[in-house]
Assembly symmetry: C2
Homo-oligomer: 152 residues x 2
DNA sequence: CTGCTTATTGAGAATCGTTGTTGAAAAGAA
DNA sequence: TTCTTTTCAACAACGATTCTCAATAAGCAG
């Protein structure tokens, strides 16, 4: 988990595995680095952001890049109970966090806990796995939905 | 998280929210209760199991029931990097566990940790959420895939 | 036990996020 | 520059999941 990627550190990490640095990949990483804290994007969200910025990157490329960067550990892939994946920068210690999700209304709260990353690292290490990401996902019912009489 | 549901405890929990106990729901819960430890099913897996057992339950009903039981906290919904969700019984303490997943080959290892459920409960409680499930998901690269020269 | 109301089912169509395919463009190496 | 290989955009294709609708059956009240 690297805090901030520059063009050249990204290039280095890509080339190491035989991949290439392209303007599209650089642009996409930039969007995530400039995102307000706590904000995450779906593939379509990212597509729209890029359209508005005038950088028309195709949806296929977006999907490929998101998946690539998740597999490199640069991005985290989040499953936020909305039928599609969301992505955010995979940041180290002081910013590393987890998600508490209401299964009814999908309201999501971030929370931090220092132990979890330690527990995760240890578990991965024990079996010789190389850690990319470690997220505690809590499915629950928020106070509002508990009060609501509405079934479903 | 209840350890074992009987027909009547399931019925009670359903009726409480205005839902009904049907033979299909009972059958599906039974399949999960009789599943070998560490085994989880996708919707399609479950459909096939039921076909073989002669209980032909439609795919629509299966999807609806899985989602319903996940929202009730009876089942856990797992995202095991295979393009579709998997489900397993949501069991309490001694059986409660987490998943370590290789992002390359999808090999998955289960592991246990007593602290995580405590951390999760506390986080939910803090914001007044009613806890349904709490899972630590670790994305990593397994030893075999680390050795493989194959990119991607 | 009977009848009423409303949730649930099954079958298949429809949806929608995501992945695959193609020829053209461009990065990296020599 | 020139060659090789990856990556790109555009669009077709796929597959898991959801939706629709008429028929059925829980649960409840009398």
């Amino acid at each position: 988990m690297i805090a901030t990627y520059t063009s050249s550190s990204l290039k280095a990490e890509l080339n190491e595995k035989g991949w290439r640095l392209t303007p599209q990949r650089e642009t996409i990483l930039n969007v995530f680095q400039n995102l307000p804290k706590g904000k995450h994007l779906s593939a379509e969200d990212l597509y729209n952001v890029l359209q508005e910025e005038g950088a028309g990157i195709s949806l296929s490329t977006i999907y490929r890049t998101l998946k690539l960067m998740a597999r490199m550990g640069i991005l985290r892939e989040l499953e936020l109970a909305e039928g599609h994946k969301h992505y955010e920068l995979n940041q180290p210690h002081p910013y590393h966090h987890h998600h508490l999700i209401c299964v009814r209304c999908s309201k999501t709260i971030e929370f931090k806990n220092d132990q979890i990353l330690k527990i995760g690292s240890k578990a991965a290490q024990k079996d010789g796995y190389y850690l990319l990401d470690c997220q505690l996902t809590i499915h629950a019912v928020c106070p509002t939905c508990q009060r609501s009489l509405m079934p479903t």
